[in-house]
Symmetry: C2
Subunit: 631 residues, 2 copies
């Protein structure tokens, strides 16, 4: 077991190794950016799918919509740049909101983000696998196993640590960036330098318009395109992963992700408009994604095309990795405040928060299995949480700057305040647009899930508060008069194990009672008890008396129900009134089973007795175990 | 959990209730006789299947063969009647052989019987289900689930106790006996009184002869027919189940089983010969068993026919019950001698040996699943074990009587000796015939399985002997100079739980070390440790000094690997050389989790620490648990 864990996860890391395990921007982009970069493929596609209803007029609207999205992205970049600097150890919306608005807003942000991250894993993986199976249709029946396989891979690599994940996913990430830089650069060069717009492989003609291009359609397309921006907040949640100087590494990572995403969006929108590439109907055979049409239009069907599309597939399938980096760190902050189980705040074997990783994997696996690996219907639920958090986080930063200004009595933070205010306003409006546009498609489910999650978080906190109140020890230690415990030994007869127990008991207390239980196996065994009684005086009482100790008493009790617990607890009940104020210690010699067959060959009475006494949960009845494994 | 067990198995019985749970002959016949009675159907059928090769000449040989079998049965009856009286608490071959021939022969008998009992469960159930599915062919695809369902039913009822099983199966047993008494009586009456041999429904004509009726064929048919006698020894193994006077109840049960079986065999043989009923080919469609043909010949296809055949089906399907009565009691005897795990000798919740019942069910289920519920190929393996045990048991009784005569200096036991000698000789010859006749069909597997089983039994015994030698405490208790242990408390900080531990530690010893571990969650928490240090003097050391106690020392240790075990074991390693000859007691305050959500909301550090220290298995490092469940 232990060597298997070592092979899969690597050796257990010491706390002091934490610093070496932190990441820079090179690993930061794969570890936190895959969601953002991958969404460059489905953001424009989602917008074009809505716009397709308006035919060529719709296609013409893509430019302005993407421009608005990129502008929003720019505002977000500058906003988060400031947030990171202001909260360099943990700049997530949960922390910002707690510091500025208090617990309520922080829980709202935490719940929205937690739901979004879980959805992102399920949707990201199934979208990646969907793209793969549409490229290789023979893999279609294996959809769910493929999804779960990728999930298992992500889980395992992330359990090894964020550094390992960042390194493992660097190749597909940078290959994707390089090939799309080449693709878009080539296309834009041809377009701008030569004015040539003849595609190498022509895209299919656009579908005919079925409705005019109205405001509602544009807003809806904008809301759908905004999914391209989810994942941008991941850097702020994952600040704990960066090595010193964390702010610089974090800002670089954020710049790389936002910059690349912005350029990708601009390039895609320009070329799609120029080549007249529209969204095809996914439910029809022969479907090809916008980026696939675009790559074919620029590159034809050569190896470069396959490299670009292959690396895109990888990025899509691995986009869930962003959740694996940000979610556990978010949960840690929430758990440190007592709203999630404490296990979420404990750094695991590899100094990452394993409980969060495993919980994320388990919930995502559940979603994937429930929906058979096809989670398109979950997409509308998505992005709402992200934009809600954007808004809360930016608004919190506005309060943050105002407070700083209020205490410093100057207005040094005027510009940052304006940037964050602009961010809050823009993302707030976007949030309202998305909510309205997607409400009937399923966004209302998120609106129900968020309060339910908050209720859960509050229940956890209430439990911890109650326990803390119960356990609190105030003031000096109270000490009553000192008296040794009454020691009861459960023994099957004289043996080296039992002798060890007797010696220890005599060290502890002058009141030792050895209990021999008869009929534990159901049958009568009067000889054995009689023989034990016989030898007790010579072999135990006399030596104890000679050593100046009070001799231990032997009590023979029948185990009416072949269980040791009942007669022992009954005996304790009889002893306690006679010895008020004294604890009872039950001494159990326990044979430690080191080999599998020992579990079959020995009864488990000692363990059962220990469990039952533990479950009895009386601090006045103490359990003492003397482990014994033979020679 | 506990209420489910109660609903399924009934309440836990006290040892004193054992007497009321014992059975008489009325329950004894269903509990121990179903195997024997059921085999009346397949014994003659097996003989006729062999004889079919010789055509009508073969059918004529059935009478003498069945006569020989009935004669053997009579000898067995008288032999076992004596054995029961000689060993009234446990007359099984294992006990008899141990008392007379010693351990080797007893293990041979035990191994042969154990294998036979397991086979009997698998073969009995699958034969019963086979008969059912040949009557209702639509059930064919459900063969395995039906087999496992019946196995589960038998297991459950037997776990409730032999009395419950005997009562539950009384109805089909006595219905079977009554209807076949009527059937055979009516047939014989017609045959003898009126000489009429015209069947109501005519059996199919016999198959043509393919070889002459030689000695080998007759011996082979005899060997196959002898399967009718398996299960006769069950009464001797199950003697512990009878209420006082056990010998009388046992003898009555044995008489009922052997008498009924003998009469059934005689009646079947006579009528089958008279009506010219032969065995049909089971692999051909339209197959009907010998008893089905016989019942139709006597009764036609009325309700009486269906009653007889229906009760026969029940008896066949439940014939495994005999194993469930005898096997656990055999295993108990073997376990009491140390050749099987001790759990087999422990009377369970309902005063039956649950471990044996569960083991039997598990092995039989494994066989059924491996063979898909069709275990015909196991039939040749069968009966060998039974006849080997018959022979050993009877031969042992011969030695028993000779010993009694030798001590008494008279020859009072001449007649019993002759009866058992005849039994040993007859069953010994039958054993050789069966072994030779069935060797190539698979009997050799039994010859391999028996020594393998014996080897396993010997290994178990060797282990227990080694443990006993290690654990044996001889002579008076050795006591060194008395000194209290060094007590180490693992504590997260001051709390009511930790205060309880401190008070108890101060009761035990003047040397108390409280260990506070930092960085257990991975992050640094210097404030907490500093605060604890600060308050330790005022809140713990001073009160202890005022109470006249040595103040407990506070040690702050970093948990480098976020585990409590390593730093604690290291500390113990450092302390022990300074305090030679003194034990170390690690005091763990453990929060008892009473509700499911507590398992999620608390880390399991106390439990893990306890487990690791137990696995360390050093009797000088004692583990003390103070259970705590809040208010």
């Amino acid at each position: 077991m232990r060597s298997l864990a070592k092979a899969l996860l690597g050796r257990r890391l010491a706390n002091r190794e934490g610093e070496e395990r932190r990441i820079g921007a090179f690993e930061g982009v794969p570890a936190m950016g895959l969601d953002g970069l991958g969404s460059s493929s489905y953001g424009p596609e989602a917008a074009l799918t809505i716009l397709a209803a308006a035919g060529t007029a719709g296609l013409a609207a893509l430019g302005p919509i993407i421009a608005a999205i990129v502008a929003l992205l720019a505002i977000l970049y500058f906003s988060y740049r400031q947030t990171i600097a202001a909260y360099p150890t943990n700049g997530g919306a949960f922390t910002v909101a707690r510091e500025t608005f208090g617990a309520g807003a922080s829980l709202l942000a935490a719940a929205a983000l937690m739901i979004d991250y879980v959805l992102n894993v399920a949707v990201g993986i199934s979208a990646g696998v969907g793209a793969l199976t549409s490229a290789v249709p023979s893999l279609q029946p294996q959809t769910l196993p493929l999804c779960l396989g990728i999930l298992a891979l992500l889980t395992l690599i992330n359990l090894r640590g964020t550094l390992d994940a960042g390194r493992a996913f660097a190749l597909p990430t940078y290959l994707f960036l390089a090939s799309f830089a080449l693709l878009l650069g080539l296309g834009l060069y041809r377009l701008l330098a030569t004015g040539e717009v003849a595609p190498v492989v022509a895209p299919p003609p656009p579908r005919p318009a079925s409705e005019p291009l109205g405001w509602w359609l544009v807003l809806h397309a904008f809301a759908s395109g905004c999914t391209a921006m989810t994942g941008v907040e991941a850097v702020s949640n994952g600040m704990g992963a960066f090595r010193d100087p964390a702010v610089r590494h974090g800002r670089r990572t954020l710049l790389a992700i936002c910059g690349a995403l912005g350029l990708l969006l601009i390039g895609i929108a320009t070329l799609a408009t120029a080549y007249g590439i529209g969204a095809m109907d996914q439910t029809q055979p022969g479907y090809r994604s916008v980026l696939s049409q675009l790559a074919a239009a620029v590159l034809g069907h050569g190896w470069l095309y396959y490299t670009a599309i292959g690396s895109l597939l990888c990025v899509l399938a691995l986009s869930a990795d962003t959740s694996f980096t940000a979610f556990p760190r978010l949960c840690r902050s929430v758990a440190q405040d007592g709203y999630l189980p404490r296990a979420f705040a404990v750094a695991g074997r590899r100094l990452v928060f394993s409980a969060g990783i495993l919980y994320l994997a388990a919930t995502a696996a559940l979603l994937l299995i429930l929906f058979g690996g096809i989670t398109e219907h979950l997409i509308p639920l998505f992005a709402i949480g992200a934009f809600l958090t954007f808004t809360i986080s930016q608004a919190g930063m506005v309060v943050h700057w105002r407070r700083l200004d209020a205490t410093a009595a100057t207005r040094r933070h005027r510009l940052p305040l304006l940037v964050n205010a602009a961010g809050a306003l823009a993302t707030g409006i976007a949030f309202c647009v998305i909510l309205v546009a997607k409400f009937s498609e399923g966004a209302w489910i998120t609106l129900l899930a968020v309060p339910a999650t908050i209720a859960g978080l509050l229940l956890v906190r209430r439990y911890y508060d109650r326990v803390a109140a119960q356990e609190r020890a105030a003031g000096p230690l109270r000490l009553a008069q000192r008296s040794p415990p009454v020691v009861i030994i459960a023994m099957a007869g004289r043996s080296r194990m039992a002798d060890e127990a007797l010696r220890f008991a005599l060290d502890l207390s002058p009141d030792v009672v050895a209990v021999h239980l008869t009929a534990l196996e159901g049958g009568e065994d009067p000889d054995r008890a009689a023989a034990l009684r016989e030898s007790w005086r010579h072999d135990v009482e006399d030596p104890a008396a000679r050593a100046g100790l009070t001799p231990p008493r032997l009590v023979v009790l029948p185990a009416t129900y072949r269980r040791a617990e009942e007669p022992l607890l009954k005996l304790i009940g009889e002893l306690r009134p006679k010895m008020p104020g004294r604890r009872v210690a039950i001494l159990i010699p326990e044979l430690v089973k080191r080999r599998w067959y020992q579990h079959l060959l020995h009864t488990h009475r000692a363990r059962r007795l220990r469990r039952r006494l533990l479950a009895h949960a009386d601090p006045e009845i103490v359990i003492i175990i003397i482990p014994w494994a033979g020679d």
